[in-house]
Amino acid sequence: MTLRILLNRVKTDTLLKKNMTKFIKKEDLYKLLNSFLKDFEIIGPKQIANKGIFYEPLESIEDLYLGELFAIEPAKKFFLESSECLFHSGFLDGKATVQDAPLPDKRRIIIGLRPCEAKGLILLDKVFDSEYKDRSYINNREKSVIVGLACAKPDKSCFCTSMDGSPTGSRGMDVLLFAVEDGFIVEIYSDKGKEAFSSLGKEPDEHQNKTLSAYKQKRSELIGKNFKVPGDLSPIFESDYWDKVSFPCLSCGVCTYLCPTCHCFELVDEGRKMYRCNDGCAFSNFTLEASGWNPRPTKKERYRQRVFHKFDYFKKIFGENLCVGCGRCIRHCPVKMDISEIVSNAPSGAGK
């Protein structure tokens, strides 16, 4: 439903009535992407030695990494940029002026997104494309074709199935690739995807179709973590559980900045340009007021805010958890805090 609304934004961009499925050889896919390079900016995961996988605009398709490892930062950064100019202010003939920051025009293909990240974009749409519409976010969304990659081997910190997702989920995707022997099975969900991918490849044969359905089933079973989020956390708002679980927290921004759904930001005026910059609830500065009063003074309140925003407040407002179970905040936490464990072990009722 949400997906449909989202894609309807641009006229040419509707969901197909029936998914198209294709098979494409690996070298053909790379050839196709190469041919896109002149009209599109192609963004994809790239392996940097000893540092891991990063999404970057690719200069050469050779750099594209479509393996099992997950990118460290989610592709969120191309939609909700870590810092983005919103407007300029200045003087013209002695009078103050304000002017919109120009929006980038180039169309782009973002390849290699995992189903969890694409779902994260759908959740971000609820915030940035709702009552108040954020034009640069929407522009970034409209200009992008999302070509996902189904997860071949979920990480041990993944828990997307507990968040109503799946390692092969199609929500938020224009196209989804499944890596199979000697190539990719391509599922096309939207006009945008059809426009880009329908010309190549062939219909998959029966064997490949079987492989695909087996693939889909098997991948979900590989997710080790499975838990149920309590329906309403508010009875335990005051519980000392939060004191206990937040103890290891360092109040750094790793979990929020690497989260595909965390979207809190601040507005900074630097040199008469207003920027929207990343911010996160873990920092004590986040809610510190000029008077010196801080409504969330310790890591307990701040960590609780993060958990409640994801698993209580957002659900109450938008009907879904603000979490896609990608496991980044668990993998990259400098002290290995595990939000899935913390949420699933949360006491029920107002226990002290």
């Binding site: 891991g52 103890f247 900045y257 690497l258 900074v268 040199g271 002290v335």
Partner: protein, 295 residues
Amino acid sequence: MIEELRNKARELLKTKQVEAVIGYQRASDGLSAIPCVIRSEEEAGRLIWDAACVYNLCGYLKDFRAKKLGIVAKACDVRAMIVLISENQLNRDDVFIIGMECCGVVDEKRARVSGRDGSDISSADKCKSCASCVPLAYDCLIKEKREKAKVSEDADKDKYEPVRKLEAKSLSEKSKSWKDEFKRCIRCYACRQVCPMCYCPRCVADQFMPVWFSKAGGIEGNFSWNVARAMHLAGRCIDCGECERACPVGIPLRDINRKIEKDIKELFGYEAGMKTDAKPFLACFDKNDPEDFIK
């Protein structure tokens, strides 16, 4: 060794020598460790000790000002405490150091970025140049029962070798490679938060009159943040490597820290975290300090 540690914690809590013990417990993945605080004898069974106990726990001491605490500490962690004591951030009498003889910890970072679980990863870089597996100071020492790993064997190897290699590059090479590194910085401040020496109540990065490190586009802000962070650690960093480990985007922060450490050692003969009564490096001077760079 673990039982010995748990018994010690039980004893300390039972005899009320400490109010709590800060240590490690098993994380949810069943392999790594997560910091924990033990407040009662019954909880002491949660404590663990093995090569997964990577973190430097001294940072948590500031959550419990003026309380008597026990802390599980490796050699490198104790050096951090020594600096904290010399800077009057910590009262030696407030901590009971449970010193752990350490054979090196796993390279948690490499395990993370390569998608492995750490059990097959050799010890962290910092351990390869570690000179001692026994802490400089402790109130009790828990000895390693296993055959000692070859920690100290490599210790003679020049610790500053990587720094020298980087120094030898041309200016433009250095400029380019560091810009590439800092470009990725996401300003999550994990390096600051994880650092046992970063205890300022309000970091310069959080001040906004003026804004010292621009957050708006460009790498200037990232560059100055990373330089300022390193400068604030000059003469204080004990090379526990936590900043580099915590950095999610893999900026080689230890190279910067070690560069400063090396210069301080070579120019001023000073080494941080060796003596509790040492004056902080930048809070003292010698009339004969080198000044050949000054006109």
